[in-house]
Symmetry: C2
Subunit: 575 residues, 2 copies
């Protein structure tokens, strides 16, 4: 076995650029497992996040391979952005939509859209114009105007994944929902922007082209969203129609993995638990696998259909996730619910770790650095400029837009304080895998990075990603504790939010419940115009709920009306 292992290690570096070998997959799976285990062991250390440790493991592994192959290669898989966009990104974005706190998201909807769409545009413009001006003085290779625009889009994509690992949902719920919501919308905006840039010939911009560009952007945004919602609703409808009539006939218990074959996973037998845990909910034999499979396939279908029609798959699959969690998820059995919830999170988790591991490993790719090393000063200069532009670009929209957002809020508690603004600014600085993938897409399209300009752009992007991930990952938690030491503060903000909204919604809610109880007769409870003006979101939310209850839920399913359960979080009822 000894010599076999040796030959395996020898083979690792020899893998050609195109073939994905058994060796590479094995090593990668091994490293992924190692990352998860190490990530768990480091959980108590509040400094290192899972992403950063995966990055560092990737870097170490890259160094080892680099040494073993005498500097020929640092990676075992060549970054294939097809792999990234077709297999790794969809589960992450879908899961983001699926697991999202919809109520928080829609409560802060205007602020999130302001940050995520308008803010990303501001950041994009500043990075593009800044690099256009500043790079003239540096001796980098020729870059087209499209390259600068792409650079703006690439570096405007914040890394919502990494960000989530440093903010705590319980401690700072408002910040959390703002940064998370912004991150998702921002991802979509950057990718849509990037696609729009690649599709247009932007070497000579006229006002017509600029208008077309904006039109295209809006068209992409709208159609992608509609497609995602459509596929999500279709999945809800299909699963409801297929299983609805039979749900009550189920009297089987699902559990005990060893007791059933491939397709008969829910047997009609009970279960002896090894702890004093209660047995699980009843669920229908065989239907769980079908339901879960259908949900996975239709979610993926929404992404691929968007790509097929040249739309933004990322937006589509995000909205598909939201719709699926609002309707489809409530139409399936209890077993399917637990399974989908955790299976989607696990797939997303593996994809994330995979990406960070790869980025770490790929950062050392020798080809690019050889080209760049001829002009180290330039490269360092470009990286510093880009880093500065990222910092400025984010500051340039967080503070003004927070000011605007605060103008619309009446209550002092709803406003975003200065310290919170600083935290939002800092927490969203991290750049991640989306940036790297887009950079490869733009600057390594021929598969090689031997042009100086392209090589510098890629290495600088990687530098920015590594720097912001590591520094941001290490410093954000201490910063949050330093800036917001009264963790009750933002908590109070949220709670007062709840209570103010509850006092507003509770009668409406009760009205709705009684409506259902007495058979949907319309009790006149139309809010006044003044109410609409002062609390627009809540009232829009109210109309949406009325529409949802009257039209959507009877067709597509969804959570039923349950009496308020003591101890349950209010958003589950109010949502």
């Amino acid at each position: 076995m000894g010599f076999t292992l040796g030959s395996v290690l020898m083979r690792l570096g020899m893998t050609g650029p195109d073939e994905v070998s058994v060796d590479a997959i094995t090593l990668f799976v091994l490293l992924l497992s190692a990352c998860i285990i190490i990530g768990h062991l480091l959980e108590k250390s509040r400094w290192l996040t899972e992403s950063v440790s995966a990055l560092l493991i990737g870097l170490c592994c890259g160094v080892v391979i680099l040494l073993r192959t005498q500097g020929k290669s640092s990676h075992i898989l060549v970054f294939n952005e097809g792999l990234f966009f077709i297999y790794l990104l969809p589960p992450i974005i879908f899961n983001a939509g699926f697991q999202m706190k919809k109520k928080h998201f829609f409560q802060n909807f205007s602020t999130i859209i302001l940050f995520g769409a308008v803010g990303t545009l501001i950041s994009f413009i500043i990075i593009t114009l800044g690099s256009l001006q500043l790079f003239k003085k540096l001796d980098i290779g020729f870059l087209e105007i499209g390259d600068y625009l792409a650079l703006g889009a690439i570096l405007s994509a914040t890394d919502s994944v990494c960000t989530l690992q440093v903010l705590n949902q319980e401690e700072t719920p408002l910040l959390y929902s703002l940064v998370f919501g912004e991150g998702v919308v921002n991802d979509a905006t950057s990718v849509v922007l990037f696609n729009a840039i690649q599709r247009f010939d932007l070497s000579h911009i006229t006002s017509t082209i600029a208008l077309q560009f904006i039109g295209n952007f809006l068209y992409l945004f709208f159609t992608s969203t509609v497609l995602g919602i459509g596929v999500g609703l279709l999945s809800a409808y299909i699963i409801r129609k297929l299983y609805f009539g039979r749900k009550l006939a189920s009297d089987t218990i699902c559990n005990a993995p060893t007791e059933s074959p491939s397709h008969m996973t829910c047997t009609s037998k009970g279960l002896v638990n090894d702890t004093s845990e209660a047995p699980l909910e009843p669920c229908k034999e065989h239907s769980t696998d079908r339901e879960v499979a259908l949900m996975i396939l239709m979610a993926y279908l929404s992404y691929m259909m968007a790509e097929l029609f040249y739309l933004s798959g990322i937006l589509t699959v995000f909205f598909c996730g939201i719709v699926m969690s609002h309707y489809t998820w409530h139409n399936v059995t209890e077993c399917s619910r637990v399974t989908t919830k955790h299976a989607f999170a696990t797939l997303s988790f593996i994809s994330e770790i995979f990406i960070f591991l790869y980025v770490g490993m790929d950062a050392l790719d020798i080809e690019k650095w050889t080209v760049v090393s001829k002009s180290p000063g330039t490269s360092v200069g470009v990286s510093l400029i880009l880093l500065a532009l990222v910092l400025i670009g984010r500051a340039a929209f967080i503070f003004p837009l927070s000011f605007i957002s605060n103008l619309t809020k009446k209550s002092q508690n709803d406003k975003i304080g200065f310290k919170q603004q600083v935290t939002i600014w800092w927490a969203g600085l991290m750049r991640g895998a989306v940036s790297v993938a887009l950079a490869y897409n733009q600057f390594a399209r021929s598969g090689h990075t031997q042009l100086l300009g392209n090589a510098i752009m890629i290495t600088s992007t990687i530098t920015v990603v590594l720097f912001t991930s590591v520094v941001g990952g290490l410093l954000t938690k201490p910063l949050v504790r330093f800036l917001l030491p009264l963790q009750k503060h933002s908590g109070r903000t949220m709670m007062s939010d709840f209570s103010s909204q509850k006092s507003l919604n509770l009668p409406l809610l009760i009205g709705q419940e009684s409506e259902v109880a007495i058979g949907c007769t319309n009790i006149p409870q139309v809010p006044s115009l003044r109410m609409l003006l002062t609390t627009p979101t809540n009232t829009v939310h109210h109309y949406w709920r009325k529409f949802d209850d009257a039209v959507m839920r009877p067709v597509f399913g969804g959570r039923g009306f349950v009496p308020y359960a003591p101890g349950s979080p209010p958003e589950l009822v109010v949502q």
Copy 2:
């Protein structure tokens, strides 16, 4: 949108042989969803199984594409046996091991091994020798001796997946466990046999080479099993060590998909259910994703490591599944258990449907049929001969080996009756995706099938697979009802099995429980030699349990000792 859809449909046929395009993936995902929905709608019809309907949908789709492309191509993805062996087969085999009724399997262990290993060898020899003799009279191209041996291995691989869909676990538990167990061992035997054939130069067989061949076969079988068990135990150990100490500290509830971000899937909040269902078990925040991810990755790692060391991944991952369900599964949280159980079943389910869909679509691949159509008579003759050999080869081991197996059984109820033997013979006739994948591996290695002999072998294999799947899928259920109309009969066999074993094991079990209760002092309860001789399996099982409880479970975890719960199935306690 109309013209876009048209151009999409146009593009479908144009896909080159090597590239996997967005179009192809989209269509495939769409077809998979359709198969699941149609499979569900056909569930009540006891004639069509999911596999057969996927096959037929694939065939129909192949016809449509064939017509659209004016006969140029019938598939949207070229059969890539790398895809099959690296991505599709591992989940199916792992899930078979993971979901297996271990008690049934080990209770009928000798019979299953007899059928699965010895029987497959008999079938292999008969098909090889038969085709060697009969093909001489037909004008087919030149085939080496290795090709005939490969053919024997290819057509000895029964399709356990398809088989399971026609036998009912509740109605005929003994048949079910025999056919399923045999199918799994048979899969492994065929693949190991096939690999051994491909690795040896068998053009001139000497006794030395034959001995080497047998030695190689045994070596592969043994090392692959050990590797699978090793990785499974490692996963149990790691998860136990990582999470054991913290399990009791968990006070969070997991559920409600929409309420947490990617990594914080178990929030500390309760849940308002839409039905009167009890809330789920508590489980540790974040740990579920990690546990599930680790289990998936380590299962896959075992398969890839086996492939890396040129062992049989299929055997390795099967035993890894068994060990994981026996130890690892009991070390994780309740949420992880439900998730892994259904996620693995779902992955396996999707892989199966994918394979059948593909086989149906690929059956029409025009290239092979063009070559074959020059000698249609020969092709039909070869298919008929192979079909007959499959029937004879299976009969040649089922009836003699059942006779041998019956000799070792004392009780009349434990014996396999003649009608049951006929059912086992018939239910195991189906050939499936493993056969097709192996046939491609052997006869289409250059990527083309223009040699007459190779083309005939592939088309004949496909014919046998289609014929046995469709006919077997349609007729097995009626046959079982016709041959075994007293469905209680075999049920009674199983129940008497239980009671006879319970009467034997119950005092031992109680002894073991009290051992644990009083701290593992050794109560002298060694079974007598006579007992060992008359009921060897049960006593081996008893020693294994002692070893398991004393050595294995303290290290690797596993099910704890629970008092016998009324209403729970006895195998859960006795197992």
